[in-house]
């Protein structure tokens, strides 16, 4: 599958900055993120927990929680700025053109509605299906995401399902209307590897069939490896590295990315050997250090890192690989 000819990305997020009201005044959580997703492209988003992945995605469909708002930036989807769309347009996009899979399936599913009804809704409102058709399709979707006994399960309430099943229901909802873009926020954390594989296959399949684009937020780097085209690594509300997947695994450039990859336990590891992890904790929103947000935890940090904020720059010697790190940039340049 090659990207479409016009080369214009389906989703183009520029300088997205998200701010939160705290007792001490506004604090920036997401800080000028740039992210593009081409048609039919699958982008993986990884990053440390709490770095703002979920909020970024939520802001795209304007569903940020109270007190949190987009301060600046644009998010063009198929040429239209999602952040400025009218309510009705937005409604067409939500669930129809952009499918969404939320991170916390238990609380994200309505506890007092049967899952079938929840699943039918996008079909009814975007595909104008009749109730009966929608139900058929819903059963079909449940089967696709690997829920056994979908005819009966469609009448279950969320609390009657296992964690993984709820998550699959969420996925089914996200995929219900064959969206142009699927934003999936850690959709497979509660799934066993076989089901996970099944879901991955399903997404790949849909991508092929419908030319669907996917943003896949995850911590499972292994999973990403077989699924995505490109990976964006987030740290403290900024993209620190953005690279084609092979490139990223082959040449992780940002020290944070390297730290992440080093932390993955391998099947071949010995039990109880200590896993390596990145020391320290990420900065909180509103308490960011002055320079590079990763600098305090970075083994390679130099004085410039504490002074100025690095921006994403192409990595010399590779296409589509960009990184925001003074040291790495310099090393690359030196190497080149």
């Amino acid at each position: 599958m090659t990207a479409p000819a016009d080369n214009k990305p389906l989703l183009d997020v520029r300088g997205l900055t998200i701010e939160i009201d705290t007792r001490r005044g506004p604090a920036v959580i997401v800080d000028g993120i740039n992210l593009t997703v081409g048609k039919g492209e699958t982008v993986g988003v990884v990053g440390e927990s709490g770095c703002g992945k979920s909020l970024t995605m939520l802001s795209l469909v304007r569903l940020l929680p109270n007190k949190i708002r987009v301060k600046s930036g644009t998010a063009e989807f198929a040429g239209r700025d999602l952040l400025k769309m009218s309510k009705s347009e937005l409604r067409q996009v939500r669930g129809g053109k952009i499918g969404f899979v939320f991170q916390d399936p238990m609380t994200s599913l309505n506890p007092v509605m049967r899952i079938g009804d929840q699943l039918c809704e996008p079909l009814i409102y975007h595909r104008n299906m009749s109730k009966a058709d929608a139900r058929e399709r819903a059963i079909e979707l449940l089967r696709l995401v690997g829920i056994p006994g979908p005819e009966q399960r469609i009448e279950a309430y969320p609390h009657e399902l296992s964690g993984g099943m709820r998550q699959r229901v969420m996925i089914a909802i996200g995929l219900a209307c064959d969206p142009e873009l699927l934003i999936a926020d850690e959709p497979t954390t509660a799934l066993d590897v076989t089901i996970q594989a099944q879901i991955v296959d399903l997404v790949k399949d849909l991508r092929k069939k419908l030319n669907m684009s996917v943003v896949w937020i995850t911590h499972d780097l292994a999973l990403i490896a077989g699924l995505v085209d490109r990976v964006a690594v987030l740290y403290a509300g900024t993209v620190v590295e953005d690279a084609p997947v092979n490139e990223l695994f082959a040449r992780p450039t940002h020290p944070y990315t390297r730290g992440l990859l080093a932390s993955i336990p391998k099947l071949s590891d010995e039990r109880a050997s200590r896993l390596s992890s990145i020391g320290g904790t990420p900065p909180e929103p509103g308490r960011r250090p002055k320079g590079c947000p990763f600098a305090p935890r970075c083994a390679l940090a130099e004085s410039v890192c504490h002074e100025r904020v690095p921006v994403l720059e192409p990595v010399a010697g590779s296409t589509g690989h960009r990184v925001a790190c003074f040291v790495a940039q310099r090393q690359m340049m030196e190497a080149a």
Binding site: G47, S49, G50, C51, G52, S54, Q103, D104, P105, M106, T107, I147, P148, G149, Q152, R153, A156, E160, L161, S162, G163, G164, M165, R166, R168, D185, E186, T189, A190, L191, D192, V193, T194, I195, Q196, A197, H219, D220, A222, L223, I224, A225, G226, N246, F249, G259, L260, S263, I264, P265, K266, L267, D269, R271, A272, R274, L275, S277, T281, E284
Partner: protein, 330 residues
């Protein structure tokens, strides 16, 4: 391996009655956990893996008597705790902890993180009021959260942060035994590594015992002493980590292992997965005989009719499969 198990699970069964139809007029039974037997030894990590919905969480819940078992026994320190009422169960609660799978919903939306973590400490008198802030910050730091998070409410956290709060809350009780139900699934690998290290350190230091429910087999392999594989409410295989990963006997275990992705795009492209075909049975209507037979590549006629026995084919290696019984000699 120590002779006396810390927890002995005998014939544990948990069925749910669910209502179907618009007004709940039809009833059906979910066979969530069906006759499960295993032991957990002090100081070990027993991992439970298996298909989503196969009853791992339910096992965890019933084990801790958070859901009433339909039948069966769970012996802890010689007492069958699943038969205890809430009041008589209470003394055991501190020692037996759980990290829930859906952390957000298990956090009281009207309690700050500090209160969430501090509450068990105060309640179980593990620290004085004066020591409390210090204790809470330390626990938060242990799970990689800044101390200031004590003042936040659950909804102000990201998914991974909530999960870490749940872990901190369980650790706050200074328990003997923790059920970790997908406790680290929402964490990035670095934090995950940090938490795993923490769990292992605690185990080493205090002899903690874990029932570790997870899907990430790499993590499971890293952390467990023994691994149990569940399929549709039943235990399929239980063996030491080395045994299970190097010599899986049950066809489901084999399929499972073959599906593990690797963090390497090149490898991923070439990897051969064993795809399971056939009907995925529903726990509402589990198949007769071996529950796996509908998808089993080596299913025999016998499998459709006879429930395979839970047998120790090699010392320390239990499996429930007709095929294995035949081939166990070989």
């Amino acid at each position: 391996m120590a002779a006396e198990p810390l927890i002995k699970v005998e014939n544990l069964v948990k069925h749910f009655v669910v209502r179907l139809g618009a007004f709940g007029e039809r009833g059906a039974t979910v066979y969530a956990v069906d006759d499960v037997n295993f032991d957990i030894f002090a100081g070990e990590t027993l991992s439970l893996v298996g298909e989503s919905g196969c009853g791992k969480s339910t096992t965890g819940f019933t084990l801790l008597n958070l859901q009433k078992a339909t039948s069966g026994k769970v012996l802890f320190q010689g007492e069958n705790i699943v038969s205890l009422d809430e009041k008589r169960m209470r003394p055991y609660r501190r020692e037996l902890q759980i990290v829930f799978q859906d952390p957000y919903s298990t956090l009281n939306p009207r309690m700050t993180i500090g209160e969430v973590v501090g509450e068990p400490i105060l309640f179980h008198k593990l620290a004085t009021k004066a020591e409390l802030p210090e204790r809470v910050s330390r626990l938060l730091a242990d799970v990689g959260l800044p101390a200031r998070f004590a003042q936040r409410y659950p909804h102000e956290l990201s998914g991974g942060q909530r999960q870490r709060v749940a872990i901190a809350r369980a650790l706050a009780c200074e328990p003997k035994f923790i059920v970790c139900d997908e406790a680290i699934s929402a964490l990035d690998v670095s934090v995950q590594a940090q938490i795993i290290n923490l769990l292992l350190d605690l185990q080493e230091k205090y002899g903690l015992t874990y029932l570790f429910i997870a899907h990430d087999l790499a993590v499971v392999r890293h952390i467990s002493t023994r691994v149990g594989v569940m399929y549709l409410g039943r235990m399929a295989e239980l063996a030491s980590r080395e045994q299970l990963f190097s010599n899986p006997l049950h066809p489901y275990t084999k399929a499972l292992l073959s599906a593990v992705p690797e963090a390497d795009p090149e490898l991923e492209k070439t990897r051969q997965r064993q795809i399971l075909t056939g009907d995925v049975p529903s726990p509402l209507a589990p198949p007769a005989g071996c529950r796996f037979h509908t998808r089993c590549p080596i299913a025999m006629d016998k499998c459709k009719a006879v429930v395979p026995e839970w047998r120790e084919v090699v010392p320390g290696h239990h499996v429930a499969c007709h095929a294995v019984e035949q081939g166990a000699a070989g």
